[in-house]
């Protein structure tokens, strides 16, 4: 239970709730309220990982979401292992297992560290300059080696058992950030009747107040003010408080995405609790109070474990009661580190402070710290550090008035707190496409012109003093709620202000030392300089060439330093070098949370017909057709697909087949102008179609290519029952609605999708009439009374029925349309009745074969979006007399009437047993050299049991003039000879359908 670096008192941890975690196989102890980072530090474990490129030992840098170094694999049990967790954001819980990454064989002894010694060979962009010879080595040797070296953790290797939730919310005011500015904004906004959401990434609301030990607000210690404020806010019914929730993406029209972590901090999450929840919030107004990030100082070897941010040292001491070292040296160019130093000293730690600034710039703060008994060196630079797996000293030297570096001195220490100034967290503001402005007074970019209804308050807007943050936050919250109000807060003065620090002056050779800018991607100051020297002058180029700011922390601690270094190297002011545009997400977000419940069966809905269950019960195999799951074939025991389809096809021509056509798209076109509308939408003419009759219709896009087809029945002068392809139903309705509403709104027509309303049962074959005759009432089925291509309203088994005499097989056929609820009962009755004739249910595969035997096209199979009616042999259907219909004008374009277009033909293979692949290409001469001239392709190809041989349909250039010619189709290896035929293989005269 020993925690060597745990302070005896203080902190917000719960000492009554001890816990243990396992780190690299070692059991370490801590308390509820710890993060993994604070727990590791409490146990003296600074070394927590190896860097990306040089495999340098690295420790915890920060206490927040800007952590670049301490990335751990966290193991929460089988399937619950994931890499690259920031130790500072993982709440410790009992039994948690964590491992460090990117080392072999171990964290302490890592072979990869040889890269550190070879570093002179690996400057920024080195890989662009080498690994090119010999060429074959790239794929075989160089790239695999680079890849193996890159990456940090290991990707999970098994599916994720956890559940993820989505929630959509609207609110009047969304406040991002629960620090002083955000809390004040919430106080103001929630005092109105507006709905307010406050999201904060931390486990507790409070932000920097959680480790503020000395300041007072309105006379009370900050912690007390915080507790009271949170209590007040919890009592506000119009306010939703979301701790552990990061606003990560700011999209158009104030659409903000939040990720709420629900379960990872619990030792035993309830089984029904989602792990994370994605919130998509549409806010009228947004208040950004996202704080600021501290910058490290840039000097040689500024990356050793134990070197961390000064404010983070303060947070570990005050919030987590952990002293990150026994002797801590603070190195700073600003005031805030003095508060950290004072708190460290007060906690009993041995403290020294080195200030880059001259004495006169920091006299009061220095004097106060000295008065506490701490050594304070002003006007000093940092030359480097000593130690390896833990810092053991900080090498400093005075700088005189001429910027000359004096004698070095090493300050012994086991921890260093760096403060190189602060950078406002403008990420979300930038994502919202607001403009940023460089503010020299704080050496940072601040929000300028907003592009959406958003305002910034507090440190994220560049305001640092505590009282000003509170005042500004309150005003922002009030204004966002539409009730402008002001309130002043009496907060004690906080230490703010810093002198911008770039690469610190040094007496060492800056060209050869490693002064890190981006810790995670191992980018050094000299890398930035090299990029500039090589002509990469835009900051975007510098970023991409050096990879600075491209790591998982997205450069929160490094971007400003990199930009300033580039500006220095270019001799340009910072605004001219530019800042990068921030992209979502603010911090990495799990794929699973973004996906939420859209997994497995909820990935896409499955549409099933009323007959689906019947088919499934009989062992049908199914295929996906758009969203539908259709019965593909009905194998009997021992039958394979080939045998089943052959049997089904023979039955449909020999006796009677039963087919579920319910997925056909169906649209009712109704109104006085229905026929006129149909005339405009289809190539056919509808004016003379009698009620009770059907016609096969073809519809074009305006570009002249076939969009869809289907049988259309005229039920009454003003009522058409239109059918479409299964996949085309929505497309056709959209197409019709578009023209009706936007081009011809004067036409009095209504369009209604009736796909789901009618089950369609196709009964096809010589025995079809006998099969249905006893079941239907109110219709004369005789050929004379009810010929092919007719429709009748009748009843079947008492149910209302639209009975179509149509055929997609070439046999006598009926399509029984009944309300979907009757679908299965009618199907079963027909099946029962048909037993006497050997009725055989058939699936989509047999349907395809049967129609191909008769040469009927399927849109999307024979056509591919580039076929005209003439191409597929349907030019005769075009109503010549019509002056116009959609697509007509395009059919006259030069290349649509040019000779040599592909035309629908049949193909018979020389070997009747060979079934070509659909998609096979056709050539005239297989001996041609490559590239060969292809004249067409096979669109449909089947074994036809009825023909006793294979058949195929193909689109072939000028095909109708090639009848009888021998051509060659590609097969798996080589070619097969085929003979061009008419695209019909059964009943060439089409007589059977009238039977």
């Amino acid at each position: 239970m020993k925690q060597d670096y745990r302070l005896a008192k203080g902190g917000r941890i719960d000492r009554a709730r001890p816990l243990s975690v396992t780190f690299n196989g070692r059991r370490l102890f801590g308390f509820a309220g710890d993060t993994l980072a604070s727990l590791l530090l409490a146990n003296g474990q600074h070394l927590v990982g190896r860097s990306f490129k040089y495999h340098r030992p690295r420790g915890v840098l920060s206490h927040g979401s800007d952590e670049p170094n301490a990335l751990l694999a966290v193991d929460r049990g089988p399937g619950r292992i994931d890499p690259n967790n920031r130790a500072s954001m993982v709440e410790a819980r009992d039994g948690l297992v964590a491992r460090s990454q990117n080392h072999w064989p171990s964290l302490d002894f890592d072979v990869g560290a040889v890269n550190d010694a070879l570093a002179p060979l690996f400057p920024a962009g080195f890989y662009y300059k080498t690994f090119m010879w010999p060429r074959a080595f790239w794929d075989r040797l160089y790239e695999p080696a680079i890849r193996a070296a890159a990456g940090l953790g290991e990707a999970p290797s098994s599916p994720d058992p956890d559940r993820y939730a989505h929630r959509h919310a609207h609110c009047d005011v969304l406040i991002v950030g629960g620090g002083p500015a955000g809390l004040a904004a919430a106080l103001a906004a929630s005092a109105t009747d507006k709905s307010v959401i406050l999201a904060d990434e931390g486990a507790e609301l409070g932000g920097a107040l959680l480790h503020e030990s000395s300041a007072t607000i309105d006379g009370a210690p900050a912690a007390q003010w915080l507790a009271e404020t949170v209590k007040t806010l919890i009592g506000r019914a119009n306010l939703t408080l979301l701790p552990r929730t990061t606003a990560f993406g700011y999209y158009n029209h104030n659409h903000v995405a939040l990720i709420e972590r629900l379960a990872d901090h619990l030792a035993a999450p309830p089984p029904d609790l989602a792990r994370e929840r994605l919130w998509q919030v549409r806010a009228r107004e947004v208040v950004l109070a996202t704080g600021a990030h501290e910058r490290p100082l840039i000097f040689a070897d500024n990356d050793r474990p134990g070197i961390m941010l000064a404010e983070s040292v303060r947070a570990f001491i005050n919030r987590y009661a952990v002293a990150p070292g026994r002797r801590i040296v603070f190195a700073t160019s600003g005031a805030s580190a003095y508060s950290a130093a004072a708190d460290a000293k007060a906690a009993g730690v041995d403290v020294a402070l080195v200030d880059i600034r001259r004495e006169e710039a920091c006299r009061a703060d220095a004097a106060a710290l000295r008065a506490m008994g701490c050594e304070v060196l002003t006007g000093h630079t940092i030359i480097g550090s000593t130690g390896r797996k833990r810092v053991s000293g900080l090498i400093v030297a005075p700088i005189d008035g001429q910027a000359k570096v004096g004698a070095r001195r090493t300050l012994d220490c086991d921890c260093v707190g760096l403060s190189g100034g602060w950078t406002p967290a403008v990420h979300l503001f930038s994502q919202s496409r607001g403009a940023l402005r460089f503010e020299p007074a704080i050496d940072g970019f601040v929000p300028d012109r907003a592009a959406q209804a958003v305002r910034s308050a507090g440190a994220s807007g560049g305001t640092y003093p505590l009282s000003a943050c509170l005042t500004e936050g309150f005003a922002a919250g009030a204004a966002a709620a539409g009730a402008p109000a002001a309130r002043s807060f009496a907060a004690s003065a906080t230490r703010v202000g810093f002198q911008p620090a770039r690469a610190l002056p040094t007496s060492r050779d800056a060209k050869r030392v490693k002064a890190f800018v981006d810790f995670q991607n191992d980018v050094t100051a000299k890398d930035v300089k090299l990029a500039v020297n090589e002509g990469f002058e835009s900051i975007e180029h510098v970023k991409r060439y050096t990879t600075t700011g491209m790591a998982t922390d997205q450069g929160k601690t490094s971007n400003m330093n990199a930009l300033a270094l580039a500006a220095d190297a270019l001799g340009k002011p910072i605004p001219q070098v530019g800042t990068t545009t921030f992209r979502p997400p603010y911090t990495p977000v799990s794929f699973a949370a973004i996906v939420g419940p859209s997994r497995g069966s909820l990935f896409d809905p499955v549409r099933k017909t009323p007959i689906y269950d019947w088919a499934a019960e009989r062992g049908a195999k199914f295929e996906n057709v758009s969203l539908w799951r259709r019965a593909w074939y009905f194998p009997k025991p021992g039958e394979d697909m080939h045998a089943a389809v052959a049997r089904e096809c023979k039955a449909a021509r020999g006796a009677v087949g039963l087919f579920d056509g319910s997925t056909l798209g169906k649209i009712e076109v109704v109104g006085p102008d229905a026929a006129e509308f149909m005339n405009r939408m289809y190539i056919n003419s509808w004016t003379k179609l009698e009620p009770g009759r059907c016609r096969y219709g073809v519809m074009l896009k305006e570009d002249g290519y076939i969009l869809d087809d289907g049988v259309v029945a005229r039920l009454a002068p003003d009522r058409f029952h239109v059918t479409t392809t299964t996949g085309g139903a929505a497309r056709v309705l959209n197409h019709m609605e578009d023209y009706l509403q936007t081009e011809w709104p004067h036409l009095d027509v209504f369009l209604t999708s009736i796909t789901e309303q009618w089950a369609v049962i196709a009964v096809q074959g010589p025995k079809a009439r006998e099969t249905i005759a006893p079941l239907v009432a109110g219709v004369d089925l005789s050929n004379e009374a009810f010929p092919h291509m007719s429709v009748r309203a009748c009843r079947i088994l008492g149910a209302p029925c639209r009975l179509f005499r149509v055929s997609f097989t070439g046999e006598v056929g009926y399509e029984i349309n009944v309300p979907s609820d009757f679908g299965r009962a009618v199907w079963e009755a027909v099946y029962e009745r048909g037993q006497a004739f050997g009725i055989t249910p058939y699936g989509t595969e047999a349907m395809h074969v049967l129609r191909a035997e008769r040469g009927f096209i399927i849109v999307g199979q024979e056509t591919d979006g580039t076929m005209t009616p003439d191409d597929v042999g349907l030019a005769g259907m075009i109503a010549k007399a019509k002056p116009d219909f959609v697509g007509k004008r395009s059919l006259a374009r030069p290349d649509l009437v040019a000779p040599g277009r592909k035309q629908l033909v049949g193909l018979l293979t020389e070997d009747p047993n060979l079934v070509l692949d659909e998609g096979a290409q056709i050539v005239e001469n297989p001996a041609m050299p490559i590239p060969m001239r292809m004249i067409g392709h096979v669109t449909s190809s089947y074994w036809s049991a009825n023909c006793g041989r294979s058949i195929a349909l193909a689109m072939i250039a000028d095909g109708r003039n090639l009848m009888g010619r021998t051509l060659h189709a590609t097969v798996a290896a080589g070619f097969a000879s085929v003979k061009v035929s008419a695209p019909v293989f059964v009943d060439p005269k089409g007589e059977r359908v009238h039977g």
Partner: protein
């Protein structure tokens, strides 16, 4: 995700809508009278401005009605939505019409 103000239903999220491309390209009354060039321009040529764009939307998963919108294609901000067959209060080039 855009927030789109359907003239019939009010503001709704983009996923309820389908965009129908540039607005105010009326289908010619007599296509047969047009030469190939004019017809191709009707079919394919689009103004595609960086700035204010008049475009068509349908509230597909709502009232299923088509309407027009002016949107700035650089900021993605909607300037207004208006019913089919009507003109916007300002034209894409900034002139006002009403």
């Amino acid at each position: 995700m855009l927030l789109i103000d359907c003239p019939y239903c009010g503001p709704r999220p983009e996923v309820e809508f389908r965009c129908g491309g540039e607005a105010h390209i009326a289908r010619p009354a007599q296509p047969a009278d047009m030469d190939d060039k004019a017809w191709a321009e009707f079919l394919f040529i689009r103004s595609n401005p960086k700035g204010v764009h008049a475009e068509r939307w349908i509230h597909q998963h709502g009232c299923q009605r088509w309407f027009n919108a002016l949107r700035d294609t650089y900021t993605d901000a909607f300037i207004e939505t208006y019913e089919m067959g009507t003109k916007p209060s300002r034209l894409p080039d900034g002139r006002t019409t009403r």
